[in-house]
């Protein structure tokens, strides 16, 4: 306990912020999977994304933080909410999980957790240690990112457009109303 307190005293304000954000992230991520109401679940997911953006800012990646909020917390979450409202989920629709499923998932999840803790305790000396020496503070800035994307990564960056085109063609193809379809 004293060890922990001593560790706590050495922290800088950034360290406190990191701990706070991490705790919030974990709590809201737990909320996503434990919430019974899908709307609460989605709201907890938005909170998780905001906390993650906070982490990005702590890592000096401001652009990534902004994009994360715009794309995930903004666009994708709105899509999720729309879908949930269209599906009109009610409490009685909820599928009851059998005990077997619950036991199996507890065993699988528990094994994974024990394994991760064991590995961390055994090999924590081998984990890479970050250092701020020689860190270029402009790394995460838009300008540097742009130079990278339009410089050495130009080919994958351009070919990602093929991916988006496929997704668009597919969405239009699957979503197009056919003769005899139900009209809303």
């Amino acid at each position: 306990m004293t060890e922990f307190l001593a560790f706590f005293k050495t922290l800088t304000p950034t360290g406190y912020l990191f701990l706070l954000l991490t705790a919030l992230t974990v709590i809201s991520a737990m909320g996503v999977v434990t919430a019974r109401n899908p709307i609460y679940s989605v709201l907890a997911l938005i909170a998780t994304f905001f906390c993650l953006s906070g982490h990005y800012i702590l890592l000096n990646a401001q652009f990534l933080a902004a994009v994360n909020i715009i794309v995930y917390a903004g666009a994708i979450m709105v899509l999720f909410l729309f879908t949930i409202m269209f599906l009109n989920l009610r409490r009685e629709d909820e599928e009851a999980k059998t005990n077997l499923t619950k036991i199996a998932s507890v065993i699988v999840g528990g094994t994974l957790m024990v394994m991760l803790i064991m590995i961390f305790r055994a090999k924590s000396s081998q984990l890479p240690v970050g250092s701020t020496v020689g860190f270029e503070p402009n790394t995460g800035m838009v300008e540097n990112l742009g130079h990278l994307l339009y410089g050495s990564y130009i080919l994958p960056f351009e070919l990602a457009s093929v991916l988006f085109l496929i997704a668009m063609v597919g969405a239009v193809m699957l979503g197009k109303r056919e003769a005899g379809d139900r009209h809303f």
Binding site: Q126, P128, S152, Y153, P156, V162, L163, I166, L174, E178
Partner: protein, 468 residues
């Protein structure tokens, strides 16, 4: 590089051709585009290039893999028959998505950077999710697409996490950078390097449906329209194995002691799970799904051994497997359509069972011959291409000294003969009320070409040797 540019442009052109009233121009146009890409592919023959800051590599091996992928998709597109019997079909979109997905496949074959691998895998996977669900009014197709999408997205997530960890350990996304980090294996590598490698392997093994990650395969292959099942089980598998081969051979040879045994165990599980479960299937299409899992197992033998012969063995095996699979699915499509017209039943399950093939060879000798050849090739009977494919695979295992794996593989090929011969017995020795099936000229050419290729490569396997 040339095929990537050409295919991207051609696919957009195809989308515009879809505005035309007549659908009949689409099939010849697509075939022409694929031939053009195939020709352009060989422009760099015998040269090695690295494009765009070492993002993409073309050498003879990648060109041969690209050629296999393009040839398979040529055969599949030719068999699609322009979707003339389906009013609701949207052939322009289907062909465009196929051409776009080939861009992803070629990226997976020639990548030199993990970012390229990721974008390529995503292009191919997203296209496959869409094509799986393209039969919108069929519930099984919808179910298959949703299952494939959810599990595939999860696998992609695991793969991406693995790439991030590899970057964290080695500080590089390029295969050469990771290899130079891994060459210090004696001094001890960071733990997250191994975890990242494992997660990357899990993601890629999911895409090629290797065993503990194969549970999506039967449902997806069964629910997807047959023509797209043929495409999925050939092109995706070839591209996936090309990607795995290049990844392991270029970056991770130094840590073979770590992943070699893991891959060998995965191989054994894949072989056993695929072959044994295939025996119990009553639907031919589902049997083919399990058979494709088992063939992923045979291809994995070459990876788990990773010797000098592995490249040649994987190239030969994927070519033999692709041709045989496409012609088998082609015959299945004709038979299913015929049954559907005869019995007027909309239940496709009974039309795809083994019984649907009863007495097929008596009235339709060509269909019988094509199916028999491809079944013999898949079973690995001598004088077919499949025999030499298996032979090369097994010899890589011998070279590495993995005798236990070899024993499992030989036993499982014996199991495979049982279920492949069920079809042949049904076609030749059972009686069934089959009328002659009308075969369109394109179908005839494709089936004859598949028979000639399978037997030709079986008689003279040296044709492909010395190419790369």
């Amino acid at each position: 590089m040339f095929p990537i540019v050409l295919l991207s442009v051609f696919a957009v052109v195809l989308l515009f051709l879809g505005f035309l009233k007549s659908r009949s121009v689409l099939l010849p146009a697509t075939l022409l585009f694929l031939v053009a890409a195939l020709v352009a592919n060989f422009l760099d023959w015998n040269k090695t290039y690295l494009y765009f800051n070492s993002m993409l590599r073309t050498d003879n091996l990648s060109m041969v893999f690209t050629a296999i992928v393009l040839l398979s998709s040529f055969l599949v597109v030719a068999l699609s028959g322009s979707f003339e019997d389906d009013e609701a079909a949207q052939p322009a979109e289907y062909y465009a998505i196929i051409l776009f997905s080939l861009v992803g496949a070629i990226m997976m074959i020639g990548y030199e950077n993990l970012v390229m691998l990721f974008v390529g895998v995503e292009i191919l996977s997203v296209a496959m999710y869409i094509l799986t669900g393209s039969d919108k009014r069929n519930l099984r197709s919808n179910e298959a697409a949703l299952k494939y999408f959810l599990m595939g997205a999860f696998a992609t997530g695991i793969m991406l996490f693995g790439m991030a960890l590899l970057y964290g350990a080695s500080g590089s996304f390029t295969l050469a950078g990771i290899a130079s980090y891994a060459s210090h294996a004696q001094q001890g590598l960071s733990l997250i390097f191994y975890v990242g490698l494992l997660m990357l392997l899990v993601g890629l093994l999911f895409k090629v449906s290797a065993a503990p990650f194969h549970f999506w395969t039967p449902d997806v292959y069964d629910g997807a329209p047959t023509i797209f099942t043929a495409y999925m089980s050939t092109v995706v598998k070839t591209a996936g194995f090309a990607a795995l081969l290049h990844l392991l051979a270029a970056s991770f040879t130094y840590v073979y002691s770590f992943w070699g045994i893991i891959l060998a165990v995965v191989t054994a599980i894949t072989l056993i799970a695929g072959n044994v479960t295939a025996v119990y299937q009553n639907s031919f299409k589902r049997m083919m799904a399990y058979s494709s899992i088992s063939h992923a197992g045979y291809l994995l033998i070459g990876l788990a051994a990773l010797s000098a012969q592995s490249r040649q063995a994987i190239v030969f095996y994927s070519l033999a497997y692709s041709i045989a699979t496409i012609s088998a699915f082609g015959v299945l499509m004709l038979v299913t359509r015929q049954r559907g017209m005869q019995t007027l039943s909309s239940n496709p399950l009974s039309n795809e069972s083994f019984d649907a093939f009863n007495g097929l060879a008596k009235q339709n000798p060509l269909l019988g011959l094509a199916m028999a050849t491809s079944m013999l090739s898949l079973a690995g009977i001598p004088l077919t291409a499949g025999f030499w494919g298996k032979f090369y695979m097994f010899s890589t295992a011998v070279e590495r000294g993995q005798i236990w794996l070899l024993v499992v593989a030989v036993l499982m090929s014996a199991v495979g003969i049982y279920y492949y011969f069920r079809v042949i017995i049904a076609m030749y020795f059972r009686d069934g009320a089959t009328e002659p099936i009308r075969i369109s000229p394109v179908f005839r050419y494709v089936l004859v070409a598949a028979i000639i290729l399978t037997i030709g490569l079986g008689v003279a396997p040296g044709l492909l040797q010395g190419l790369f």
